[in-house]
């Protein structure tokens, strides 16, 4: 048995093992892969132990134990968090939900599906698709991430503009509290006005209020048809203005993505989907719905784009062309990753009408800090992903990156936006939270946290630091 590295007493690990009658990871070699998530540039620390409960009862037993012993815990799914929400800060027990991966049942009459927290999100949509149904939220990590993680972060995705985000699909949750009690929040009905919206509160709570073990999700009928379009622009402001033009014409595409010149060049070099070399910006658009509506909507969109200074508008003629268009968007991050080793991907979101100003602000920030920044993202809902291309081994540049990131947040807030459209706060954006939501709101959040988790054992150090009477940060 290897030595555990942090102050997690050996006896404690033994007790957890006996409790669950399951393997507990505690050796340094086993813990290293749990010392990080997908957030770049964060310091890694080893957790105290990792457990893999396979039922709600087991999660409850672990939390009861943790409560008794005052052990901090971190709930974790696939660990693809982008704000450090699953990164250990000091000897926590990681409760890894990946062993709870059953799709319990899909109810066709009610258009709902019951799942355990560890199910990979793409599997839910695949199961729904078999029956002509649809689970819309599709974050970029959809093939890897777990639904529990998506719920804890209120994940978004490319279809957010038309279909909303994870919270819009959570009807009910099963969760375990800091004292090991199992609560059932929400229910199985589309409408539910029964007490506080506990399910809504837990959605996006980033593991700080309860450990989500299961969910009842709403499904929609799968759209019958879809059409994709690619429009090129001579400037990114033109593209941003065209976005505003579409919305003000009351057209709501399912997906409305923007890519800037930097991104276009990287994507073209990487997989040659045939993006025009002289475009300063492109919009990638998908409309979906019943076949007749889709065709006419695609035409409407084309007209609006042309009226908004689009240089070219290309409608995909068949499935292969459609795939090529979306390949260009899907590989954006990979293509950029090949240009420099470290990508700092931000998530600042503004009201859609402010997208042109945000885009200018981003360019100005990048220039002033002498950084290379590519911008792509969900232009339709104002959720841009300014991506700084850097190298984490270059300390001087990393410090300029931090300065630039601060200013990106300030710009977003100044334009009436938020710190994060979909990645969450975790640890990465903690310092900005008070500025973003204000002191009174933060106090309210602290009050809620204290009510749910008085001992502060659930994912400590995330979102905000609770200020308790015992002075514990």
């Amino acid at each position: 048995m290897g030595k555990s590295v942090l102050p997690m007493p050996k006896g404690m690990i033994g007790k957890i093992g006996t409790l669950l009658r399951r393997r507990v990871l505690s050796a340094a070699e086993e813990l290293v892969p749990y010392s990080f998530d997908a957030t770049p540039g964060l310091e890694s620390r080893l957790p105290g132990a990792v457990v893999f409960p396979s039922s709600t009862e087991e999660v409850s037993a672990v939390l009861e134990f943790a409560d008794r012993e005052g052990l901090p815990v971190i709930p974790r799914g696939a660990g693809t968090n982008l704000a450090g929400g699953t990164v250990p800060t000091g000897a926590e027990v990681v409760i890894c939900l990946t062993a709870m991966k059953r799709i319990i049942g899909l109810n066709e009459a009610d258009l709902i599906v019951d799942v355990e927290a560890g199910v990979v999100t793409a599997a839910i949509d695949a199961e729904a698709a078999r029956l002509g149904l649809f689970y819309p939220p599709d974050p970029g990590s959809v093939a890897v991430t777990t639904i529990g993680g998506n719920i804890a972060q209120n994940a978004g995705g490319l279809r957010g503009l038309k279909y909303g985000v994870t919270r819009d699909y959570v009807l009910g949750l099963e969760a375990v509290t800091a004292t090991g009690d199992v609560v059932h929040a929400g229910g199985r009905t589309v409408k539910n006005a029964t007490g506080y919206d506990l399910a809504g509160l837990l959605t996006g709570s980033e593991g700080t209020l309860a450990v989500i073990t299961g969910a009842t999700l709403r499904l929609l009928p799968r759209p019958a048809d879809r059409r994709s379009l690619l429009a090129t622009f001579g400037s990114i402001s033109d593209a941003a203005a065209a976005v505003a033009g579409l919305i003000s014409a009351r057209v709501v595409p399912a997906t409305l993505e923007i890519m800037d010149r930097q991104t276009i060049r990287a994507v073209e070099a990487h997989s040659h989907p045939g993006l025009p070399g002289d475009a300063e910006a492109v919009l990638l658009i998908e409309v979906d719905g019943p076949a007749a509506v889709v065709v006419s909507e695609a035409e409407t969109v084309t007209g609006i784009l042309e009226a908004n200074r689009a240089m070219t508008v290309h409608r995909a003629a068949d499935g292969a062309e459609r795939d090529r268009i979306w390949l260009a968007r899907r590989v954006a991050l990979s293509a950029l990753a090949r240009t420099r080793p470290t990508l700092i991907l931000e998530d600042a979101t503004v009201p859609r009408s402010q997208v042109p100003d945000m885009v200018s602000a981003l360019r100005e920030i990048a220039a002033r800090h002498e950084l290379v920044m590519a911008t792509f993202g969900h232009a339709g809902d104002g959720n841009l992903h300014p991506t700084i291309l850097t190298d984490r081994r270059d300390a001087a540049e990393m410090s300029r990156v931090r300065g630039a990131v601060d200013e990106i947040f300030e710009a977003a807030l100044r334009l009436g936006g938020t710190l994060s459209g979909e990645h969450g706060i975790g640890t990465a954006k903690k310092p900005y939270l008070e500025a973003a939501i204000g002191g009174a709101s933060l106090a309210a959040l602290r009050g809620i946290k204290a009510a749910f988790d008085p001992r502060g054992i659930l994912n400590p150090g995330k979102l905000f630091d609770a200020v308790g009477e015992d002075g514990r940060p």
């Binding site: 290293v32 892969p33 693809t80 890894c96 990946t98 990590s141 890897v144 590989v331 991050l333 990979s334």
Partner: protein
């Protein structure tokens, strides 16, 4: 074979040190976690140490001295099929498989208790010894193995070899070929029209010792396609088992010896029926020998290396005449339902998956059905199936489910390792679905010389289960329902 000249490469091997790794390759891992979605081991264990990003974090921690090169670390790195699905899927293009092999090289020096493994690995450097062992094993085979290929009781029921089913070691390896003189003549008549290309067929260990008939099939196919075929006089391992077990220097030596021998005979294309051998020549040798005197030779051979599927794909298969009656699959009039399993080292080695499917679709008496996740690993992984039996069996059982779900009577693949693994897994599951290497399938089509095995009587009702012993020249090639 093993000439004194070629025993010591006259070169300075490139230094592989972990600190050097913290260069551009390792830092590119953005920890996005996309490797989780494709890792066959993660799928079974759900533990991050299985994933590429998990192992890369361990490499980094090892290089920074944060963890020691312990036995536990060694085990974590060996809990990996080296299937390359992660390297293929990585959005940042991190060469994960190369980094893992380097890590295994460093770890090979550290932990104790690997004596048995080191002894086993020397076999790959001693073909003459192995030839002798194989002859002995071939003779003693029936004492330990049933005709079905399953190991005999009590080992079949108890202990780590439970459920083991191996290909028949016939005692007569592919090389040296006794009838080579005749083949050369036949080859030169059949294939050496002026301007016909020369193909060097490299058998590899598994075909050489366990599937000699597949080697023969491959040679015949190449000849019928108009190649003049040459084979090395004696067998030598390509070196991958050594490289994969961290014995980089010894692998380099084998690479050098192989390249030295290959340099002495001109050939246009190096063809193999084993994807691992193909990727060894194409990817591993240039990597192993970069910066040495052999680098150019390695690059030249790499450029000439193809797998049989590459030769058969496209026009190749169409040039072979098709005759279901002499096929390895029981002859029928109705379309024979067949599915295909993609070997990892083909599908993650840059070989288009469309090719084998084109080949199968070109056979009018075959109805091809795609299985779910055809590209996911069978769990064989060379010796992985024997060092990690339970994990390998778990992974294989997913394949079995996918195969059975298609209702196919046979699964075709292009790797002798996959053939071995799938035959064992299907037999264990009580299925009578046959497993055929694509070389044997295509050789049976229009083979004008006597087939290497007696033909199966036709089975129009498709209800035949199990076959009588020895009726198939593969020996163990026929699964039995009652194989336990």
């Amino acid at each position: 074979m093993n000439n004194a000249d070629s025993a010591t490469p006259a070169c300075r091997p490139r230094e592989w040190d972990l600190a050097g790794l913290l260069g551009d390759d390792l830092v590119r891992c953005s920890r996005c976690g996309f490797c989780q979605a494709v890792c066959p081991v993660y799928r079974e264990t759900g533990e991050e140490s299985a994933t590429a990003r998990g192992k890369l974090s361990l490499v980094e921690a090892l290089a920074q001295g944060k963890i020691p090169p312990s036995r536990r670390l060694y085990d974590l790195f060996y809990r990996c099929l080296v299937c390359r699905a992660c390297a293929d899927a990585c959005p940042s293009g991190v060469p994960t498989d190369h980094i893992f092999l380097i890590a295994r090289t460093v770890l090979a020096t550290a932990p104790a208790g690997l004596g048995a493994k080191k002894i086993f690995l020397t076999a790959f450097e001693r073909p003459r010894l192995v030839n002798l062992l194989v002859k002995v094993a071939g003779a003693a085979w029936p004492l330990f193995f049933r005709p079905s290929g399953f190991i005999r009781w009590p080992a079949n029921q108890f202990g780590p070899l439970r459920g083991t089913r191996l290909p028949r070691l016939s005692g007569r390896p592919f090389l040296p070929r006794r009838d080579r003189a005749e083949d050369e003549k036949a080859g030169s008549e059949a294939g050496s029209k002026p301007g016909s290309a020369t193909a060097l067929f490299f058998a590899g260990c598994l075909i050489n010792y366990a599937y000699a008939e597949t080697g023969e099939s491959a040679v015949r196919i190449l000849e019928r396609l108009g190649y003049r075929v040459i084979v090395p006089r004696d067998h030598r391992c390509c070196g991958t088992p050594l490289a994969v077990n961290g014995e980089t220097e010894r692998a380099r030596k084998l690479a050098h010896q192989n390249l030295h021998d290959l340099a002495s005979t001109p050939f246009d294309v190096l063809v193999t029926a084993c994807p691992s051998c193909a990727s060894t020549f194409r990817d591993l040798y240039p990597n192993l020998l970069a910066g040495t005197a052999d680098a150019d030779r390695a690059a030249t051979v790499a450029a000439k290396t193809v797998h049989l599927v590459d030769v058969l794909g496209g026009e190749g298969a169409r040039r072979l005449t098709v005759s279901p009656a002499s096929s390895v699959l029981p002859g029928r009039e109705e379309p024979f339902l067949v599915t295909y399993h993609d070997p990892c080292h083909l599908i993650h080695g840059g070989h288009p998956p469309a090719r084998p499917r084109e080949i199968l679709n070109s056979l009018p008496w075959v109805r091809y059905v795609e299985m779910a996740n055809a590209g996911s690993c069978c769990g064989g992984g060379g010796t992985f199936a024997y060092t990690h039996r339970e994990l390998s069996a778990s992974i294989a059982s997913r394949k079995v489910d996918a195969i059975l779900a298609t209702g196919a009577a046979a699964v075709v693949t292009s790797c002798p390792g996959c053939v071995t693994q799938l035959r064992e897994a299907l037999a264990r599951a009580g299925s009578s679905a046959r497993v055929a290497h694509i070389a044997d399938l295509m050789d049976g089509c229009g083979n004008t010389s006597a087939p290497s095995h007696p033909r199966e009587p036709s089975d129009p009702a498709g209800t035949r289960r199990g076959y009588s012993e020895g009726s198939d020249g593969y020996g163990s090639g026929t699964p039995r329902l009652s194989g336990r």
